[in-house]
Amino acid sequence: MAVKLPIFMDANSTTPVDPRVVEAMLPYFTEKFGHPGSRNHPFGWEAEAAMDRGREQLARLIGARDPKELVFTSGGTEADNLAIKGVVEMYREKGNHIVTTAVEPRSVLDPCQRLEKQGVAVTYLPVDPAGLVDVDAVRRAITDKTILISIMFANNEIGTIQSVAEIGKLAKERGILFHTDATEAVGKIPVDVEKMGVDLLSCTAHKIYGPKGIGALYVRRRGPRVRIASQIDGGGHERGARSGTVPVALAVAFGKAAELCREVMADEAAHLARLRDRLQDRILSAVDEAYLNGHPERRLPHVLNISFAYVEGESVLMGLNREVALSSGSACTSATLEPSYVIQALGVGADLAHSSIRYGLHRFTTEEEVDYVADRTVEVVRRLREMSPLYELAKEGVDLKSIQWKAE
């Protein structure tokens, strides 16, 4: 069967919306368009009921005891901001120290950096070469001023899954709140805020086959009751935690997407892991000096990240971008002109960070697509190596580290 081009294999940026999700949400734009805050007429009642059904579906997916523990936001970034800034503001009298990691998404790191300017102390823990945070390092980083641990569930670039339950247990023992950005993990692997001791959790619809524009923050209500200071003030929606009219159609879609993920998760994860491994094997068996980034086992089933030594990532993407959508940790593809800080945190060196390519598989990825992408990647990498001075030097036996590079 011929594959249809271009192939989308960048599902850690976003996912296509499942047609069943679109179907579920559409009536809430037209005939069921009411405001969920309208308490005195059926349009409002209908909207509120639909919004709360979405909340329930999402609560079930993450193991929340009570749907009221979920606050709808505009997305994962806002959820992270609300969690971190909201906790720091609310618990200021208790302490002013946050423990996080060097590989968090920007939506965690940037709020932390802003808070640092306001006098909050932040510890950014390193990760091991597979991207894992050492739980003992978390333990050692805790001080009597620590009010929050914010460590992502699974990494969006390399897929490494952190020891969330252990960190949750540690946080409980020390009476510190635990936030996790789970935007990449929710819907893909089992996430259970009760079993894992999570107090705050960020997630977003568009990574789970829902639409862009809605996310949620889980805020624990019992054991302990977590309080957050709202960051957007207004009509007091979402129990005062986040003002602004909830986009009901998107909440319905988020809920439907969550329900579908919960139903298919076990099969889908196994299927995607098999396809991912096929992609990985096909590439690594054909290309020398290609290195897997991330943990070989403790990894999300739909993520593959490989550094191809001696070729630069953007040039690989350029060779493929008419046929395949991928992403790279190369500086040339980032807004900051720095190579991926996540890959660099693995200690592989900036050169291999520039050479990293991320493959993000999704619900609709086929085996034919996987084979096509693998074969085309191999072709492009080989072609680029033929024009790489680094590959030539390495093949001549020159140690690249021995050269005095004349950098700008």
Binding site: S315, M318, S330, C332, A350, L390, E392, E408
Partner: protein, 137 residues
Amino acid sequence: MAYSDKVIDHYNNPRNVGSFAKETPGLGTGLVGAPECGDVMKLQIKVNLDTGVIEDAKFKTFGCGSAIASSSLATEWLKGRSVGDALQIKNTDIVNELKLPPVKIHCSVLAEDAIKAAIADFQEKWAVRPAETVAER
């Protein structure tokens, strides 16, 4: 980011990729950039020792599409020029020809550096100073 047609053309059909044999008479090699920065260019010229004219040029580049295109274009422009003329190639000429966006200007700077490094290497190795003689002629 969209690439200009010329960048795409040089990326898909790079001109003069390769390396000269090390003992080639009149050879000058420039190796600039750094792997950690994501850009390394190797640019080589083969100069006719009698006339001071660059008879051939080759490149190999580790870098993004714009870096590959900049060095590919540089080899095209070098061929047939005197060494003195080659020193007149400016990075802005490359920017204009390839329509490089501001974030890619460093690729053109690197290409200019590579040209200068190759010429300096040639002059050092082959002792003659055709750049001066040709330029003064």
